[in-house]
């Protein structure tokens, strides 16, 4: 997916950009309000991440103009302000959701997914591989035309594996992506989820191969 990140703190912006690129998305970065206007007018984005405190203006004016322009690209606000009144006014101005800094990247992703799901029209995010159709945004897995209900973590595990088929993922890598830092869970919980996913993918042409000592790999016929 294509993201527009409007954030003046370059360190933070770099971190976000590299993380998103790692996940396979395209990110445009604007550090100032002026650049933000320029980007949003010329480009077509799936989602805009907006920092409220910008050096040359208040991000709210971007929101206003964005909504006036009748573009329906969803906007998630990144803010350090935690006053409820601020949040409410942002939502009133047209933001779809907000995330307070510092934020958990997984939470940001989850919110992006939720916002995109609400906007629907997510045909382009569906991944077809073999006899499965997997939409990470909508969170749907269709195997041979049969819809299979997956839990959230299972979905994210599948998304991770499907984004890089044939790549070997060590257990700890998967663990870090799926479990938040405060969860008191051992790495072996991954095995449980791999097992569950295998069961769901049984009728499909996808297979998860365990490479002892190395990790897991998604293969398809």
């Amino acid at each position: 997916m294509k993201f527009l990140l409007i954030e003046d703190n370059s360190d933070l912006a770099q971190a976000i950009c590299s993380r998103m690129t790692q996940d396979g998305h395209v990110v445009d970065h604007a550090a100032r309000l002026q650049d933000a206007f320029a980007y949003s007018e010329t480009g077509e984005y799936d989602l805009i991440l907006l920092d409220i405190m910008l050096p040359d203006g208040d991000g709210r004016s971007f929101l206003k103009r964005h909504r006036a322009g009748k573009k329906d690209t969803p906007v998630i606000v990144l803010t350090a302000r935690s006053q409820v009144s601020d949040r409410i006014s942002m939502l009133d101005l047209g933001a779809d959701d907000y995330v307070t800094k510092p934020f958990d990247h997984e939470e940001l992703q989850a919110r992006c997914r939720a916002v995109l799901r609400r906007k629907s029209g997510t045909a382009q995010t569906t991944v077809r591989l073999g006899n499965i159709a997997f939409d990470p945004v909508a969170g749907s897995l269709i195997v041979d035309g049969v819809a299979i209900t997956l839990r959230n973590r299972e979905l994210r595990l599948l998304e991770l594996l499907i984004n890089s088929p044939g790549q070997v993922f060590p257990k700890h890598k998967l663990f870090d992506r799926l479990f938040s830092y405060d969860e008191d869970v051992s790495e072996n919980a991954i095995e449980v989820y791999i097992g569950r996913l295998r069961k769901h993918l049984d009728p499909s042409s996808l297979r998860i191969t365990t490479l002892r000592g190395l990790g897991y790999r998604l293969d398809y016929d």
Binding site: L12, R19, M53, H172
Partner: protein, 455 residues
């Protein structure tokens, strides 16, 4: 936090009493003055008649063949008839010898006021007013002084005076009553601008610190000016604090965000276990400080706001649905299902922002302490009072610490390894109590905790 104001006296009562007191004094003075004046006039009236009588008697005195003849007219005594049938006395003296008349009118020791009017007493104790005058009769070889005194009791005079007194007293009383009424009205109308100012200030919303715009009388100008200055300073201080808080939030959180993002990114690149552990610890620490900062800021905001609740009519069920929607992505990350059990509206008059803050903190706590793939159920009910119950399937509250859990900064024993602070519960309790309600913690018999937030 409003302390009772130190009351000393009452402006209205002071004004009313002063006016009434003044009116009373004036009425009494009026009565006294008029009475005095009336007494003077009445006495003058009696005196002039008495003098006329004396004159008519004196005029009739003649020397005839060396003897004094006073053939005074009927009118001399007739003119002394009054409506009260006052008694009449007279004395005709020739060179201090009583020729005819009443003995008691001649002075005892010979000191004789030749002219004038004075008060005296009859032998039987009645008060009389006496008028006297003298005339010298010159005969062929004699020269003699005739003195005539005429006296009258003062019963008619007294009747007149009493009548006048009664009338004046009535007028005085009437005047006083009117003045009393006027003073009530005057003091009420004088106090009205103060009352108007009071109600216009009282009607303001809790956040309204704008200067007083309504017109005030000139005496209140310096008071209102000081008030406006005070409010201006307060407003400035408040917005400065708000600015400070927002600025602090921004300044603290932005670098934290940077650090966290980098740590997260790094975590995905390192393989060595001890590096991963260190980075995870770093991120945990950042999250804890961020959460703590957030809660401290929340708490500061709530402490200020609980004094000036902005109540509005809202639907608790709607409020919880919105909160749940907002927190669902976070719940989903742990595969925790978060749902509101009921759909019927529960109306309540409360401060929306405080409520959202409190409940969000409670749900946050529940999310933190619930294991993955568990359920958090929220139930909203209207009776006996509007209540929100949050049930989770976590480890529950340590039983001996349920009472203490809500005091600031305490953490339960089973919170080890889990980021959080008792501040969340303290915030929720403060909000509940500000609305006249309460926060109750309990453990479920089958495991898990229940938090009851009632208004």
């Amino acid at each position: 936090m409003t302390e009772t104001v130190n009351v000393s006296g009452s402006l209205r009562r002071r004004l009313t009493l002063t006016l009434i007191g003044g009116a009373a004094v004036l009425a009494v003075v009026l009565f006294a003055v008029v009475r005095l004046y009336a007494a003077q006039i009445a006495q003058q009236g009696q005196d002039s008649i008495l003098s006329a009588s004396v004159t008519s008697m004196l005029d009739a005195a003649v020397l005839r063949d060396g003897a004094v003849v006073v053939d005074f007219p009927y009118a001399a005594l007739s003119m002394l008839s009054t409506t009260s049938d006052d008694r009449v006395f007279y004395a005709i003296l020739q060179d201090q010898t009583l020729l005819s008349g009443y003995k008691h009118l001649s002075p005892p020791n010979g000191s004789f006021p030749a002219t004038g009017t004075f008060l005296a007493e009859t032998p039987d104790g009645a008060l009389i007013r006496v008028a006297s005058d003298s005339r010298t009769l010159v005969g062929a070889d004699t020269r003699t002084v005739i003195t005539v005194s005429v006296a009258q009791t003062q019963e008619a005079l007294q009747v007149t005076l009493n009548d006048i007194s009664r009338r004046v007293a009535l007028f005085g009383a009437g005047f006083f009553c009117l003045s009393a009424l006027l003073s009530f009205w005057a003091s009420a109308s004088t106090i009205t601008p103060i009352r108007r100012l009071t109600s216009s200030i009282a009607r303001r919303g809790p956040q309204d610190l704008s200067p007083v715009a309504s017109p005030v009388p000139s005496e209140m100008v310096s008071l209102v000016e000081s008030l406006n200055r005070l409010m201006g300073r307060l407003d400035k201080a408040l917005s400065q604090s708000e600015e400070f808080i927002a600025e602090a939030a921004h300044r603290v959180r932005t670098p934290l965000a940077t650090v966290r993002s980098h740590a997260e990114a790094m975590l995905h690149r390192v393989d060595r276990d001890e590096n991963r552990k260190a980075l995870r610890a770093m991120v945990r620490a950042i999250d804890e400080s961020s959460r703590a900062a957030g809660q401290l800021l929340d708490h500061a905001m709530i402490t200020f706001r609980t004094d000036h609740l902005e109540r509005e009519e809202l639907n608790l069920t709607d409020l919880l649905q919105e909160l749940v929607q907002r927190l669902t992505p976070v719940a989903e990350m742990k595969d925790i299902s978060l749902l509101v059990e009921n759909t019927e509206p529960v109306l309540v008059s409360a401060d929306a922002i405080l409520l959202q803050n409190a409940i969000r903190n409670l749900i946050d706590n529940a999310l933190k302490y619930s294991p993955m793939e568990s359920e958090i159920t929220i139930r909203v009910s209207a009776s006996p009072t509007p209540t929100i119950e949050i049930w989770d399937q976590g480890a529950g509250f340590p039983p001996d610490q349920i009472a203490n859990l809500s005091s600031r900064f305490s953490r339960g024993d089973n919170a080890k390894g889990i980021i959080g602070s008792g501040l969340g519960l303290a915030i929720a309790q403060d909000v509940a109590e500000a609305h006249g309600g309460a926060l109750k913690l309990s453990n479920l018999p089958g495991g898990g905790a229940c938090v009851t937030f009632s208004l």
